[in-house]
Subunit: 217 residues, 2 copies
């Protein structure tokens, strides 16, 4: 995916059905993988997708009191094996390895909430270009200037975003949103909520699909 | 399932293919659910099942340094919702609720390894009758005498098992086996290993099935 061929966002509501709430951390490989499939699932059921960025560093480490996944004995080893396995299964190739040093996700997360507040029609493409740059191309996006550049490529006014990041506005929007996601019980990436029903993990996308198809059980 | 209609174990190797290593904690609802499906998956691919009991209290709490799942903020709430949802999806009815007080799993786990060492042909039925009594019927099995009674019902000599539990033999067998499972990277319940490939979670049974069907990816 390049910036040029990201599809334009759908502004019109496709139906009166509630959207699928899609939570992810840009740092999360399975969040990225789910971002590549969530629109197709939503469209199949006449739903829209509401994109929500979260920070595992807040929900997992602070609220849940757990250590980072990759630093957890046994489970970290499993994840380092499971991520490339998923990619082989789905024919994905990315430059970033799950064991590579992670970016500081805060600039991306702050910019996400600024775009959501002030340029909501660009939010989906902004999210996709960040995921694509970080995971598929393997770029480090810790620096706000890199985020601003990518945002500019999908139509966000760079100067306005820079001002939002510098003034603390974006950070305050992020802080409030993270609090709301924790209040909703979101603790992993990806995490989907549809009609109040929570689904955690990329390997629950099939269950979500079946839930929407059948009306749940 | 009652003790009477548990099928006799298959003693003959069905093929030269390596068995599916199936790890579970009797305390684990998803371990129980997987135990109801693992044989069918194995049979479809000409494999046998090697039953391995483990203790999440050792691998998760001690080795991984995590708190118990149900006591983990946010995730515990999700699990309390996810377990009944799985049961509704699969038409299962059990007397035990996931939020009920848990048994002390050590008597069952020690007996498991004593049966494995001295009455291996009875191990599968022993495992199933424990799971059935604890989950479907909702019995507390913390007391060794209850384990011995259930073991007797599937053909284990009660006096010999009692002696193995009292002497510490069963405990030493358990201790060694738990160490081996941790060395193999097992950290959850259920956890399956086939041809060296690890699969964690009841919701990976479909992936395991497809892996065996296709030869992996």
């Amino acid at each position: 995916m390049t910036v040029e061929n990201i599809s334009p966002p759908t502004l019109e509501a496709k139906s009166d059905l509630p959207a699928i709430e899609f939570y992810f951390d840009f740092l999360s490989a399975f969040g990225y993988f789910a971002s590549l499939r969530i629109n197709q699932i939503a469209e199949r059921h006449g739903r829209q997708v509401e994109w929500h960025c979260m920070l595992l560093g807040v929900s997992v480490m602070k609220v849940m009191g757990l250590k980072p996944l990759l630093e957890t004995p046994l489970k970290g080893d499993y994840v380092r094996r499971d991520v490339p396995r998923y990619m082989r299964q789905h024919g994905l190739k990315v430059a970033r390895q799950v064991s590579d040093p992670m970016m500081d996700p805060r600039a991306a997360a702050r910019a996400f909430y600024w775009v959501k507040a002030f340029e909501p029609s660009l939010l989906e493409n902004f999210s996709k270009v960040i995921f694509d740059s970080y995971w598929r191309l393997g770029n480090d996006l810790s620096d706000s200037e890199k985020i601003i550049e990518l945002a500019g490529a999908v139509g966000v006014d760079p100067a306005a975003l820079r001002s939002g990041l510098d003034s603390g506005t974006a950070n305050e929007l992020l802080r409030q949103s993270i609090g709301k996601s924790v209040d909703k019980g979101v603790f992993g990436s990806p995490f989907m909520i549809v009609d109040g029903e929570p689904f955690w993990g990329c390997d629950r996308l099939e269950m979500l699909d079946e839930w929407l198809l059948t009306g749940g059980w």
